[in-house]
Amino acid sequence: MSPDPGGLGPPRDFGELVSRASPWLSGDGPHGGMVLSTRIRLARNLNNVPFTHRARDEQLQGVVANVATAARSSPSFDHSLLLQMSDMSPLERQVLVERHLVSHELGDGTRPRGIVIASDERLSVMINEEDHLRLQVMAPGLQPSEAWSVADAADDDLGQGLDYAFSDDIGYLTSCPTNAGTGLRASVLVHLPALVILKDIHQVLKSVMQVGLNVRGLYGEHSDWMGNLFQVSNQTTLGVTERDSIESLDRVTRRIIEMEEKARDRMLRDARVQLEDKVWRGYGELRYCRSITSREVIERSSVVRMGIALGLPGLCPIRVVNELLILTQPAHLQRASGGEMTQAERNVYRAGIVRERLEAAERDAGHAA
């Protein structure tokens, strides 16, 4: 994986971390037009400490200390940053949640919890979430195999210094039996607008679930697939190797991509003008809005994302659309504005950020041309 593109070096504190874009949103990964990101998560616990929900605070503090020490001597976590949730304000914690670095459970901040973030933000380990350790690797585009290699190496690194709860007949022992065994959850975030528009999506989701993978809408449920974003992940962690899970996710995702590509081809063939009209209206709303909700950002950016992936000329890079999804969320907005806002004020402020970002992208394109 390539180093930090800005060449700024590792972040020294929270402020520096959140002032830059998450590298896994770069949009330059394989199939980046359709697959936003790949995520690997490994659940691990320490052998001699009760699981998080049953441990006393001083035991959890000990887990934080042990994991931090193990990380310090791991090459994978060179120049990493340890953030303790108790040291952070609720707003700061929410910013980390919106950046997908921290789960809601970890973000509540009432118990000794923390996160170690490796220098490029793609590798991190949450401490005292549902399990003592939740190692996480994020990568742009579809690269489960590459992301797994990073997670595997980091797990071995940490495992040198930590006594994991592991049994020969089950594997890694986790707080919830749904994770026991490999403790691995591998997932991809895919964008499937054409399948949704052509109403083939239910068939696709059904067939994905039939082969033993889990799939759900990122926003909303059932008939209301906001933003047409879907998360596909493995279900089982026993009776399979890590490689099995990674390979089946990769295989099934490629199959889904093929179906989405076919659906897009069909739309281009049968309704090119209407499709282009939809894309450009979406872009126009984002580019010139004066007040916009987060739902509208998610929906308009979905059509723009499709337009970019289809290669329509004149649109912004996909990275810009990815970043908008993160930057326009409430905690990011509030942090950027420096104060509490009403919903109406937030919509106006959000519109300003969206316009500014797209204008900057147009300027960059102008310079490049």
Partner: protein, 173 residues
């Protein structure tokens, strides 16, 4: 569809609530969801898993003797009945303490109970190293029997070196 709480804004957050064995759908706007603390699809998903699990445990154990609920983990003190409520075990030892209850449950969740996970690095390093030491011991014995003392001495040094070293990184396949 309009928000079921304020009735003004379009509903964009959707929940399935299970209450008294009745499943009902709730549709609310982002703002109301935020205000009522109903937020986040991720959290909802989590509840789903816990619900599902609790449901599975229940349907499996209704025929069981009530005493099963009183099985207790000696290390962390968790009762099986508590696991049944929350879907969470209390410590690594719980997997042994509730072995007879958990095994069928794991089989239902995963379709298998066979462990195919990678081994912990520490373990792995130790296993491969102790294997290596065993091999060297065998060789040492052979060399001594053949009276090749010079080579035997260097093998003995190698064994000492391995025994005094900190754990090595796991070998990759």
């Amino acid at each position: 569809m309009l928000c079921q709480i304020c009735g003004k804004t379009a509903a964009s957050v959707h929940f399935t609530e299970i209450h008294d064995n009745q499943m009902s759908e709730i549709h609310v706007c982002e703002r109301c969801a935020e205000e009522k603390g109903l937020h986040t699809p991720a959290r909802k998903h989590k509840f789903d898993i816990a619900d599902l699990l609790a449901g599975m445990v229940d349907s499996m154990t209704t025929t069981d003797d009530d005493r099963v609920g009183h099985v207790q983990c000696e290390r962390c003190g968790l009762l099986y009945s508590q696991f049944r409520e929350t879907g969470r075990v209390g410590c690594a030892e719980c997997y042994s303490a509730f072995k007879f209850q958990l095994r069928p449950l794991l089989r239902r969740i995963h379709g298998s109970v066979e462990c195919k996970a990678k081994r912990p690095a520490r373990d792995n390093g130790d296993v491969s190293r102790s294997r290596q030491i065993q091999r060297l011991h065998d060789e040492l014995q052979r060399l001594v029997e053949r009276e090749e003392f010079e080579r035997a001495a260097s093998v003995r040094d190698e064994i000492r070196r391995l025994q005094s070293e900190p754990p090595e990184p796991a070998e990759k396949e």
